[in-house]
């Protein structure tokens, strides 16, 4: 990359703030500026906007706080198929884990339902679609994945049901079929 310089105006408020931070950290303004721009370019190259990346950062942090591991999808499907068939009580564990997530989202974020959608979109990138619709007092959540087997869909549905319950909603209707989850719920207080 060329070291040729270019002049770009930056608002005074921002420069004041950067100055304050760099002074505190004992570093140079130019270093902060270059580092910020470099990282923004890297994100853009990965196909992310900085705003999107900020969303996913929060979600991944939640996953790390509550305990998460990465696994090949086919292994997860195999495990779901074998365990759900063999052990019904494991589905309850998905539900309980969902409740824990729901409570965490409720505690941490102003709009936990929006965060749930973001969470599912970002963390479950094996889902093709996640949709949340408000219909008067009723909220409808739809998750679609064309790659999930029935057992994994069912396990994920129990997890989402748990999250919704943990958020303080009451599930009115649940439909689960291979690759589709449909949940309808409303506030426990309406």
């Amino acid at each position: 990359m060329t070291k040729e310089k270019k002049l770009v105006y930056v608002s005074k408020d921002i420069i004041d703030e950067i100055t304050r931070i760099t002074r505190r950290k004992g570093t140079f303004i130019s270093k902060f500026v270059e580092e910020s721009l470099n990282q923004a370019i890297k994100l853009e190259d990965m196909g992310y906007s900085i705003e999107e990346a900020a969303e996913s950062f929060e979600v991944i942090r939640a996953l790390r706080v509550l305990g998460g591991v990465f696994t090949p999808q086919e292994v997860l499907e195999c495990l779901a198929r074998e365990t759900c068939r063999a052990n019904e009580s494991l589905l309850e564990k998905w539900y309980e884990a969902g409740i824990l997530y729901g409570k965490y989202l409720k505690e941490k974020f102003h709009d936990p339902l929006l965060k749930l959608r973001k969470f599912l979109e970002i963390v479950r990138w094996d889902l093709n679609e996640v949709n949340v619709k408000h219909d008067k007092n009723l909220i409808k959540l739809v998750c679609v994945s064309v790659t999930h087997n029935h057992e994994l869909t069912e396990a994920l549905a129990r997890f989402v049901e748990g999250v919704v319950t943990g958020l303080g909603y009451h599930v009115q209707k649940k439909e689960v079929m291979k690759s589709l989850i449909l949940l309808e719920f409303n506030s426990m207080y309406t």
């Binding site: 770009v8 105006y9 921002i14 910020s36 305990g67 090949p72 999808q73 074998e82 494991l90």
Partner: protein
């Protein structure tokens, strides 16, 4: 970048600084943050999905007890698939890159070391906080990886929190 977004350089640069300042205030290191994003993009590309750790270990225990053969096969195959993806990726040292990514994605593995060259490989992994079936299955996945890269495992040691694999390059195999 600015012309792609259809905005002025001034507004883009200012926006970037505003977000960088927000990140600073939230105590987020921007470089670390971007590295993590890059890892997620790679995880997505290689077909890895995040799952809750507590459920994960429970599922492994149950599946490993009830359908050991099937589960072992599935882990081995996923190692093969993973290795094929990296082998075809055009990276200079695909095996090393694969293990580096696997280590970064394995939050529950405390250490993953690879020593060796084109002829012999020594792999050692420490995972003190995971279950025995998980360690066994991870070793099976790594065997799938090494086999696909043309190595033959000649020595395997798997204990509750430790994996040691030694493998030799099969005669006639190439990257």
């Amino acid at each position: 970048m600015a012309s792609k977004r259809g905005c002025s350089l001034y507004s883009l640069v200012n926006e970037i600084f505003e977000i960088a300042l927000k990140a600073e205030k939230a105590g987020v290191d921007l470089r670390h943050f971007v590295e993590r994003e890059a890892l997620l993009v790679r995880a997505k590309k290689i077909g890895f999905v995040p799952v809750l750790e507590s459920l994960w270990h429970e599922m492994i225990e149950v599946a490993y007890t009830n359908s050991r053969e099937l589960v072992v096969k599935s882990w081995f195959e996923s190692g093969v698939l993973l290795a094929k993806y990296y082998a075809e990726s055009g990276l200079r040292n695909p095996l090393r890159e694969l293990l580096k990514d696997l280590e970064a994605l394995s939050w529950n593995v405390s250490e993953m070391n690879m020593k060796g060259d084109d002829k012999a490989i020594h792999l050692s992994i420490r995972a003190p906080k995971v279950s025995e079936p998980y360690v066994t299955l991870l070793s099976v996945m790594l065997e799938g990886v090494l086999t696909t890269f043309g190595y033959r495992v000649i020595n395997k040691e798997v204990t509750r929190s430790f994996i040691k694999l030694e493998a030799l390059r099969e005669a006639g195999s190439s990257d």
